[in-house]
Symmetry: C2
Amino acid sequence: MPHALIFDVFGTVVDWRSGVAAAVAEAFAAKGAEVDATAFAVAWRGEYQPAMERVRSGGRSYTPLDKLHYENLGIVLERFGHADTFDDQERWALNAAWEKLPPWPDSVPGLTRLKQKTIIAPCSNGSIALMTRLAKFGGLPWDCILGADIAHDYKPEPVVYRAACAALRLPPERVTMVAAHNDDLAAARAEGLKTAFIPRPVEHGPGQTTDLEPASDWDIVAADMEDLADRL
Amino acid sequence: MPHALIFDVFGTVVDWRSGVAAAVAEAFAAKGAEVDATAFAVAWRGEYQPAMERVRSGGRSYTPLDKLHYENLGIVLERFGHADTFDDQERWALNAAWEKLPPWPDSVPGLTRLKQKTIIAPCSNGSIALMTRLAKFGGLPWDCILGADIAHDYKPEPVVYRAACAALRLPPERVTMVAAHNDDLAAARAEGLKTAFIPRPVEHGPGQTTDLEPASDWDIVAADMEDLADRL
């Protein structure tokens, strides 16, 4: 049995697409403005990798994801023709959408069972501030919070996985990365971590084409968090 | 109401003196060796500040407390005439004494109530690894783990308090430092945090002479964690 399980969060533990779309719909409705909230949420998430890539490539010093989300919100508001709809304070309020995402139905019961067996912690690109608020919102029972803020870099940079193991004082082979994304697991395995794949076939909506299946012989493939708890 | 409470842990939340003495007594008994376990625990803790001071003064790069505890154990074993009693693996096992400390009776019920109201996190000189294991041992329901590992320095260096607030994305005036030690609160106040004093009059045993009373006009003075929950 592993001594710690570390988790990708956006997509693996929580449903960012529905959660952000709901917050966007509410914020626009409060302004009497119209928007395709799901398209907006997807576009906002679309700026996620490019913004982190500037940090990963060394073109920008480490900046917590909260700030990147805020900047990306400005980009997407302008693209959707709403550059003037929200003032700065309202943008920060809308930015908190990322802190109020619904867990998948199996996440809290599964994590609660897993916590009885081992250390559980997020290893997300979200900041400690974001992960803490998200955990309080959804009742995610983490033992501690690891990830980008600990490493001062973004997944899939190797240092993020290494820093998580070091913070737990565990060798990588005693730590299992749990994710719905094959590339995250490949990066974790390259650093010597164990791997567990949980498919989230509607993370990107009904037409999803990526990450429907494990792309490699991951150490564990589980149907969901409860199934993962059954297997450990 | 504050938006986050951050806590000193050794002495404030858990009883290190009894806990370490019990682990020492057990380890020596397993070897058929005799020791004054409480005196040993106190001597071990006595090396705590000098070891951290080498880091704080810049004479040594940041080294997690687990390693300092291990080194200090070697110093104290030698002083007590037991340099050869434990091998390296046994020393590391004994070092885990700091991860198995009993919470004060009010700590878990008080923290559980406080967690319903706000973010709660340790801001200890203990590492993430140590704090995580200690929380699992004692059932401490932290939302996240802050402190020395986040700041790469030791309290009462100002950066430790500032790093805790930054990690929570809160201005210092929205964060309250809770401690049984007046010097910890003075350092937190100097960085703009709010302060709450909880006396722990037997942290150092029945003859304790320090930190029996608040030494300043701290924002809150509570009898224990449950009383703190009542006041918020």
